[in-house]
Symmetry: C2
Subunit: 381 residues, 2 copies
């Protein structure tokens, strides 16, 4: 263990905010992290022990980067999984495992995986083209998803009626029954190579009406003990059936009839777990580190109810960052601002987040709304 | 404010663990930090935006480093204060102010400052040489302190009786009445340029019997409301009388008769505040950053009772670090290990610390003792 912490190099594909917060956490353990990212100004640039500029999708680049590391992980799913597979075949530790990344990269495969493993998820039908979607119009209202290359809201759209069929994706994808959900929640689970498994308490997500990004998050989710238990059980089932090592965010729908259905999964630290830095005994970043390095997992309990707000670039502003309203927020007890070090803002770009702690769940909601209105990411004139 | 956070460079004299934890905290604000340290392998090396190897005591080195920064602070007191004074005279922001560093560098001046400002402290007499100490032997039992160059227990010794006079310091120093104290406590205060002032709840220190370093720390201190109030009032009085900007750790004796006396002060993040990272709403590192950058100060309240253990190099071991017993500690809820990234250990070297959170103060003490016995810093064979 001592030697593990001291000497092994952890390589991370992707040097964005997730990698940045992972490094921040790894500093406590003196764990060296090497980063590969195509952007020379990526958020991890200045704080990684080694920062390499290169494509995450190019086989040779990923392979040679991985060769110089002992353990390899990702902070984004769209990476060259074949290169990772070769590294794993040659004995490198790659977590999440390459076959899981391949599964995640294809929403069609993901849905089939749920189906094959008895994991509850919205009913779906695969579609090969726009005309195929039109042929299956009896399935509407539905969510039309592209099989590959969807990310952060791209490649996902709602087809409510025949009038929407015009915009159907003309590539392999799927139609998923539109769920009349009561809540969207998320459960993060983590598992190490030893097989230790922990689950975080469920959180509740509120999405931005147009950007399809998490706008508010509240922990704990306001759900019954039964729904909480069901959600945790499903999340554990997913990571076990995947036989995955690392941290896995499982987004779920709670339907009006009390069903719990898996919506999407992410095999890495995730937006729905940012509050864990201050709100939980072990942050999702430290937990991911522990999981991929095969250290003992940390306690996932909530220390205090929390809200999380994404700081998205304001619509209508592009260029060097100008932050408004921070002074007032900084004075408040239990308000934590995280800026990701991105030089340029653009509409809806994730520029940072704020976590708010408050023992009183009602006050928390009021404060979260107020702080959301207070802090604005604009650009310099 | 926005521009302040984005564009100003904070220079720090010293790149040890205090600078390292300051950087870890500054990442949240995207605040660039430049470090000057004589050791090319100092703990800040890999995570500072800019790391310069150079002497902290050399006028030209400190001056030219400071010229390239907007705000300059320290993580160690023994730096060239004349160079900092010149930088301040030329309009750079230097916090703590150079004259305060000069005061701290001379324990004689410090004691006179307390006396002149009516700040309660142990009775003392200045001594110029060994023979002068001998001449003042009626003052025994006393603590004999060197005026300058004392640090972490060096330059401080107890002279209980005439038999001890043989080891008296033969240089300008002082004799301080040996205080028959009930407890040693510490209060951290912070003040920004706007004059905002906050005080942290008092913590209780337990020192290592031979190394004269804090071995255990408990927060909150087990003291009466009256003693707490008195200690906070004194600590605020010190920072106000110093007219200081930054964070100030004030170590105090609580005597058996209920007096509160200032023992030592440190105008920077301090060992007695490490627990604040996890235990308080605002860590001492973030608070120091806010204070020197003139941002609003953060709430200092305790979120949860905490214990802090220094991880000192075991006596008898020198060389590359080998850590024992970490596995077991990592599993526990509310145990936070911080390693400082030092490559080599030696007896009593500060290699890291552990913070333990527990709502139950009695359990906390038991757990702190157990974890202290569990984790050992040794060297590879």
């Amino acid at each position: 263990m001592a030697k593990t912490i001291q000497n092994q190099i952890l390589g991370v594909l992707g040097g964005g905010q997730l990698g940045r917060m992972l490094i921040q956490s790894a500093i406590n353990y003196n764990q060296d992290i090497h980063i590969l990212d195509p952007d020379p100004n990526a958020p991890c640039r200045d704080i990684a022990q080694h920062f390499q500029v290169g494509s995450l999708k190019d086989f040779d680049t990923v392979y040679s980067f991985g060769k110089s590391c002992d353990v390899i992980t990702v902070e984004i799913e769209s990476v060259n999984a074949d290169a990772l597979q070769k590294l794993a075949d040659e004995g490198k530790k790659v977590f999440p495992q390459p076959q899981i990344l391949k599964l995640i990269q294809d929403k069609r495969e993901q849905k089939k995986f749920y189906q094959d493993n008895g994991i509850p998820t919205a009913e779906f039908v695969l579609t090969e083209s726009k005309s195929d979607v039109i042929a299956k119009k009896d399935f509407l209202p539905a969510v039309n998803k592209l099989g590959k290359e969807g990310y952060d809201g791209r490649g996902v759209q709602i087809l409510r009626s025949e009038a929407d069929l015009e915009k159907a994706f003309d590539a392999p994808g799927l139609l998923e029954k539109l769920i009349d959900f009561d809540k969207e929640i998320a459960v993060t689970v983590a598992r190490n190579e030893n097989g230790d498994l922990v689950a975080y308490p469920a959180v509740e997500c509120a999405f931005h009406p147009t950007a399809n990004l998490v706008e508010f998050l509240f922990a704990p989710a306001q759900i019954s003990v039964e729904i909480e238990a069901k959600a945790q059980e499903i999340a554990k089932e997913v990571i076990l059936k995947l036989d995955m090592v690392g941290i896995l965010a499982v987004e779920l729908f709670v339907t009006k009839s009390g069903e719990v259905l898996v919506n999407e999964i992410a095999p890495r630290p995730h937006n729905s777990g940012h509050h864990t830095i201050e709100a939980n005994f072990t942050s999702q970043f430290e937990q991911h580190l522990r999981a991929v390095m095969n250290w003992p997992l940390g306690n996932p309990d909530l220390r205090c109810p929390a809200a999380m707000i994404n700081l998205l670039g304001e619509d209508g502003f592009s260029g060097p960052v100008l932050i408004e309203g921070k002074e007032e927020a900084l004075i408040e007890r239990g308000v934590y601002i995280h800026l990701y070090g991105k030089k340029l803002t653009k509409p809806f770009r994730k520029m940072g987040h704020v976590t708010i702690l408050d023992e009183n769940v009602e006050t928390l909601k009021v404060r979260a709304n107020r702080i959301k209105e207070l802090i604005k990411i604009k650009s310099t004139p």
